[in-house]
Symmetry: C2
Subunit: 395 residues, 2 copies
């Protein structure tokens, strides 16, 4: 029986060349008055985007404050800094310029400013649910995290080394400006990490034991095939605008919940396992996902065999007529081969980290603590399972 | 080069069994106070839905007024009646219960109530653009029109026989309740007409000379294949809940603009040609589309050959290795065959209408008048082209 679901992806997408020029007009229409720009360490200013946006906003009569220097695996300290700036300046709208790190930081700041009497980390520590959130918009310069249309954000508490996600529809951006031209200059490693992250957002929803909506699966498979094809194009031709456009739009659709409708929440354990690697070693998120996925997949596929067989057939184009187990294994190997072909790691050694036994135990414990009751759908994992998956991924 | 596009589909979808029970809560959350229920001639009351919803709304302390009796190809007179009732009762929210006719009528009433100083027909006559619209929600009982998430509505002016559409994001429903169980009792002809309409909403966007986003095309093809598969299941097993769920969700995705991103507006001439048939003969919309599409397709495919070849290969599974023209023709014939296989007409005679030469000329003229400057993308049509397409469709 098809599962019930809610689908809510209200973000207006303004996609294409020069789309960023509409930013001021849209903010104005939505009632913004004093906007906090949130951006990273280099790309926004290097691309000339920061100055352009400040001009566009000022022309619309909007006041502008700034919080730069957001790094990958964005830190809680910058969230607190943003909240402080926001309070001092009566900020009423957040505008992130960058990728997932800038957007996630803006979301966390928006929560913090809307309920200033609370510590925003409580949301990530699962001790409280958000009741309000300031409005957010973004200008995307990295296709990967899907945060531009998603309800989620991930923040690292640098005091404790915990990397935690929080999801709530209140934080869905009001609009997302997506000009693929701003992703042309992204280095190969970041580009391909982004492609892995995009695919994984859909694969997390796909590998489930409770999903059975054909249209959702067919769209998911179409998305995965499209991303794989265009990831290879970008490996050889990074300046290909059309391929950048495909990846950019796929990144939003992969994580706005479209590819999970009727799939009851998906698995998401690859993400949870990677979050601990990111929290402890500060690796690039997508590369971390590629490094841990094969180990996860080989550990769980027998418990979710029909989906792994379907994945092998419809996404990885496995045509052998062997047993389901062999078809599923061939599909996993083909994905591993694809990761290699786009320069992504397939284990922790290739990722450049060698966690000690103690660190593996610690990551596994933290991972389970972060999961609460949601420990997977393809296979429900316990701490010992996580230990084995990390162990098997060492390479 | 990938086209720029805007995508905005903010409707919250509440999908599945008993979803209708959440209606009151959602209306309350959105600030509704006095709700106008808009529904058709039979299904809402026959299904027991009307009483259930009135109870649910009353329990939330909402005041309720009613406008029943909406018919297919919904009439302007009912829109005026709704506006009158709305003014008399200080209606602040519209709730449609039914399919496209009820929802489209609710949208038109919502425009009329938001700008009471103007005649709402001016929007459809293209002499004015809407600046405001009252909020709308809907409970879907017929999967077809896609109006539950779309920005468009189509109303027939029974005085002039004109059937005209108007689209504006202001009228996108705030939420759509979609319980597939309420479509189980739909007669076969309505069910299959709905499937044709759903497919056509995506085909209209697909057959274009300006689209080139691979991910959009791949999603469109996935959707079309899924609808075809489930239409055949419902032909043989109309009580199949899962197939009803697939069709219902496909109906929203087919018309919320997802399958047109980057495709520059699509063609939509099959719809425009059918609107005149519906305005003059009051035929079932989806059946009318099936009856006119083969003639349209054979008339235009040489001007949009790559898309028709792709359609034949990826949707209709044509595997012959002949010329592009032959592959395209085989694809059109296969779609015609599919229409027959689900009991749909493939020409006007099978549809049950035999327009005179004078009526064909009149429909062609009106069609062009309704199109304004947007006369197709697969091939730009003139009045003479429309005449020939109607003529070739006589059967």
């Amino acid at each position: 029986m098809a599962n019930n679901f809610n689908y809510y992806a209200p973000t207006e997408v303004i996609f294409g060349r020069d789309a960023e020029l509409e930013t001021g007009k849209h903010l104005k229409k939505l009632g913004a008055s004093h906007v906090l720009l949130v951006y990273g360490t280099s790309s926004a200013s290097r691309l000339g985007l920061l100055d352009k946006i400040k001009t566009v906003l000022t022309e619309e009569g909007l006041a502008v404050s700034e919080l730069g220097g957001i790094v990958p695996n964005p830190r809680l300290c910058k969230v607190y800094e943003g909240i402080r700036i926001g309070k001092e300046n009566q900020i009423d709208f957040l505008l992130a310029i960058g990728g997932g790190s800038a957007i996630d930081t803006a979301k966390a700041i928006a929560y913090g400013l809307a309920e200033p009497e609370h510590d925003v980390w409580e949301l990530f520590a699962r001790s409280r649910t958000a009741k309000k959130c300031l409005p957010i918009a973004c200008i995307l310069t990295i296709a990967a995290a899907g945060s531009e249309t998603s309800n989620s954000c991930v923040i690292t508490n640098e005091q404790t080394g915990e990397k935690r996600g929080y999801g709530n529809n209140l934080a869905r951006p009001k609009f997302a400006v997506m000009n693929p031209a701003y992703t042309l200059s992204l280095p190969a490693y970041q580009t391909q990490s982004g492609c892995v992250d995009i695919m994984m957002h859909t694969m997390e929803r796909y590998f489930t034991n409770s999903g059975n909506m054909e249209i959702t699966d067919a769209i998911a498979e179409a998305l995965l095939r499209t991303v794989m094809k265009n990831a290879v194009i970008l490996r050889d031709d990074p300046d290909n605008y059309d391929a950048r456009a495909e990846i950019m739009w796929a990144g939003s659709l992969a994580h706005n919940d479209l590819t999970g409708c009727g799939n009851d929440g998906g698995d998401f354990m690859t993400h949870k396992l990677e979050h601990e690697m990111g929290g402890m070693f500060d690796v690039t998120h997508g590369a971390g996902l590629a490094a841990i996925w094969p180990s996860w997949a080989r550990y769980v596929y027998r418990d979710c065999l029909p989906r792994f067989v379907r994945f092998a057939r419809n996404v990885m184009e496995i045509t052998i007529s062997e047993s389901d187990v062999e078809i599923a294994e061939a599909g996993i190997s083909a994905m591993e081969q694809f990761y290699r072909c786009i320069g992504m790691p397939t284990n922790l050694r290739e990722l450049g980290i060698t966690p000690s036994d103690q660190q593996i135990l610690e990551m596994a414990d933290r991972c389970m603590a972060a999961c609460g009751s949601r420990t997977g759908s393809a296979k429900k994992l316990k701490a010992l399972d996580a230990v084995i998956i990390y162990q098997n991924a060492l390479g």
